[in-house]
């Protein structure tokens, strides 16, 4: 019988949650116009990881749909974030971050 909760999914979520303070620190250090979309993308990713675990316990069909929707939303948010990122500098510069 397949376990209700997949340990890999729990580990994924734990690592993702542990990464939050590190990622937030960089977002605070570099509050550029792409930062909110990176945060949003990561937030959708966390939601997907949570519902991935929950779908083993309740409403498997509904939460599976939600999981994939969150993944898609995460991808779109990350896409907007990298589009809004500044392009590569052509030469060495000493700009303010």
């Amino acid at each position: 019988m397949e376990p209700l909760i997949n340990p890999n999914e729990v580990v994924d979520l734990v690592i993702a949650v542990l990464a939050i303070p590190i990622l937030l620190r960089v977002v605070r250090l570099r509050p550029h116009r792409e930062a909110p979309f990176f945060s949003l993308g990561y937030g959708f990713m966390l939601c997907a990881l949570v519902v991935t675990i929950l779908e083993g316990l309740i409403w498997p069909d509904l939460l599976n749909d939600a999981e994939h929707a969150f993944y898609a939303a995460s991808g779109v948010a990350f896409l907007v974030a990298v589009i809004r990122m500044p392009g590569p500098p052509a030469y060495s510069e000493h700009d303010t971050p």
Binding site: N8, E9, V11, D12, I15, A16, L18, A19, I22, L23, R25, V26, L29, R30, Y42, M45, L49, D61, N64, D65, H68, A69, Y71, A72, S74, G75, V76, F78, L79, A81, V82, I83, M85, P86, G87, P88, P89, A90, Y91, S92, E93, H94, D95, T96, P97
Partner: protein, 224 residues
């Protein structure tokens, strides 16, 4: 077959795939001196979820579910790669801050040097032993200071200094820890010529400086 899941998986592949390509297209050149690690790590993380989405698409399309085995590994590596990207970004930000501070300091230094070079007053730095370590052009002109071609050190003719009462007042006396304002000194040149100068001294041996010595301003008063 679930149409919502199919569409979501397809959007995931396209979005994460495009994110990977755009992140790689924004990599700084090697010549720029900027770290490429943040964007490479970010692109790798996005590529992993491109793979996860692709695995789902081919699975739900009934093509194969062989890739499903590797999805867990891809998902497991996602957050560590983002952590790497974040850590490398933070390091680059710190480096930028340091470069910016160094740049500002250099600009301030250049400005001060411009002011010193433009001043009609002679400005020099005298080390504790009386050796002149810096002199602007007016100071060099007034006191005959020149750079030794052999050692690169500043030297001056063997003139002597006395105070208003005729007591010996060598240059090293000015490099003490006393602030002096407008002290008159009479200089006797080796050829016997006498010239009067006014010296003002700000010691450098305070808590904010470990250099020692003093900044000395000098003005010729003879003939006024």
């Amino acid at each position: 077959m679930n149409r919502l899941v199919d569409v979501a998986a397809a959007i995931s592949v396209l979005a994460f795939g495009a994110t990977t390509v755009i992140a790689l297209s924004k990599l700084p050149s090697r010549e720029s001196g900027r770290s490429r690690t943040p964007l490479i790590a970010l692109a790798a993380a996005m590529a992993l979820y491109t793979f996860v989405g692709f695995s789902n698409v081919v699975q739900y399309a009934g093509i194969t579910d062989a890739l499903d085995l590797f999805e867990d590994y891809a998902e497991l590596l996602f957050a560590p790669l983002l952590i790497l990207a974040a850590a490398a970004t933070e390091a680059q930000i710190r480096l930028d801050e340091r470069s910016h501070s160094a740049n500002m300091l250099q600009q301030q230094n250049d400005l001060l040097m411009d002011i010193v070079d433009t001043s009609p007053v002679g400005i020099m730095i005298v080390a504790p032993g009386g050796h002149i370590t810096f002199a602007n052009d007016p100071a060099r002109h007034m006191l005959g200071i020149a750079e030794s071609p052999d050692t690169g050190m500043l030297t001056h003719p063997a003139w002597t200094l006395v105070d208003a009462e005729g007591g010996a007042a060598p240059l090293e006396n000015l490099a003490g820890d006393q602030r002096i304002s407008g002290a008159r000194r009479i200089m006797t040149w080796p050829d016997g010529r006498r010239q009067q100068f006014m010296f003002s001294v700000t010691p450098m041996s305070d808590a904010s400086s470990s250099l020692g010595g003093a900044v000395v301003a000098v003005e010729a008063v003879t003939g006024r």
